[in-house]
Symmetry: C2
Subunit: 269 residues, 2 copies
């Protein structure tokens, strides 16, 4: 019996860690590389146990000095999802997904913790804004991967920052709380391709930042992306990465954010 | 042979997804829940193939509108790690780890993309700062989990923001690039415990933000954390979570950040 178990363990280990070509592929890496944004969902609710599992996993992400400076709001109520769908720039999948998570940076709880200890929080510095924003993002990525590992799919919603004041009213966010990013989750009812990323050498630098070869590589990447769109749309679309970026970045985006954040107590100094 | 393969596949599937009590535990969730900050490393380099694997996995994280607005700097050179170790607040493990990653928010590349398309980037708004910061954080969390799945351990270094101007000079960061967070990686030479997180109900809210029961729960959590420290330090330390938070948050932290970021082009509007 012992040796049978050993054999089974060997089999398990050998299937769990596979060499694909030269690359080590374990279950985690496989999952990460299989990520696609899912915007269509089966009409099937997400079990409460799975939701708890996703939130708990989010909580195990690292947090700056143990501050845990984020709150996750799980929206399942139809009417709230529908309103959010409009507020986030008419993204219908927010209304359609069974669970919409809003990852908020949260210094409000820390303000209360200071009160308990008879002191006052200093939260108005840019640093506290960064700290809580990064905390929320790390938790969100753990949530996304956990959801995907449970057979769900999802998409991040930056549009939660389109109308942050109205979103804050709707979700009753107090001062020192702001919605960093949203996330639709549900059982996938589509199977989109994943877009090729920038060449590794463009994104990864050894020891110091150096980018003298980047533009050459980005030119090749532009062609790759152009071909990708052409083959997916039967020639109808062929814009490159730099074209997309130029179109997005040559105008102001969400110019209200600074004013909104300051109204919530963030970024005062 | 076919049926043997089927049996092996069944064995594999049954080991890969286990029910532990009521909870579904797959490899990804197990890994996420096993996260601890590792600050001591074996004297063993990280293979270049693994580094590529970690960076590639980081790149598969979601990115706002495909901007991929981050750069990862992998520091292996002894002298640079030693300088960073001092600049980040005398954290010796930065010098000791075989690989120190610096996750930078990067709009510089998007500025270049705009130039290629004969247009000019509008990058000075707070929104672009959030977008690139979140992009960098999502990539970082994929990198951390991938590293852990490959047997490595690590710790995030917020101290990279202690002296961001000097870090920027050292790493030759151009305008529109700033170091969001650092990450030490290496083969673990310690086995620390993981600190209990806030109660799920404090961090997770249904449909809207509501916190009227939070302080009661945080009081219980304070006792839990206090007991945790007492048992780990044989009674020498017994501070609670609110005590820790009050101590951290009742003074200004990194007040230079705003000025530094504005000098780099961020947060102008």
């Amino acid at each position: 019996m012992n040796s049978l178990l050993q054999v089974l363990e060997m089999v398990y280990n050998s299937t769990n860690t596979k060499f694909q070509g030269d690359l080590l592929m374990n279950e985690v890496i496989k999952l990460i590389k299989a990520h696609r944004s899912i915007r269509k969902y089966e009409d099937k609710p997400i079990d409460e146990k799975l939701i708890s599992e996703i939130v708990e996993a989010a909580q195990w992400a690292s947090t700056s000095s143990f501050v845990q400076a984020y709150t996750i709001i799980g929206v399942q109520e139809k009417e709230i999802k529908e309103q959010l769908s409009l507020l986030c720039g008419e993204q219908p999948y927010i209304a359609q997904c069974p669970l919409f998570l809003v990852f908020c940076a949260d210094l409000h709880r820390l303000e209360k913790a200071c009160e308990v200890q008879n002191t006052v929080m200093v939260g108005e510095y840019t640093e506290s804004f960064i700290m809580s924003t990064v905390d929320a993002a790390l938790a969100a990525q753990n949530a996304m991967l956990t959801a995907e590992s449970l057979g769900l799919g999802g998409v991040y919603i930056g549009g939660i920052r389109n109308n942050p004041d109205k979103v804050s009213d709707l979700l009753k966010l107090p001062s020192y709380v702001y919605p960093v990013v949203g996330m639709c989750l549900g059982y996938p009812a589509q199977n989109p391709e994943n877009k090729p990323r920038l060449p590794l050498q463009v994104v990864y630098k050894r020891d110091v930042y150096q980018n003298h070869e980047d533009m050459e590589r980005i030119k090749e990447y532009d062609e790759q992306i152009s071909t990708y769109y052409q083959s997916r749309t039967k020639g109808k679309r062929n814009d490159s990465w730099t074209q997309q970026m130029a179109e997005k970045m040559n105008k102001e985006i969400r110019p209200h954010m600074r004013g909104f954040l300051r109204s919530k107590g963030f970024l005062m100094k």
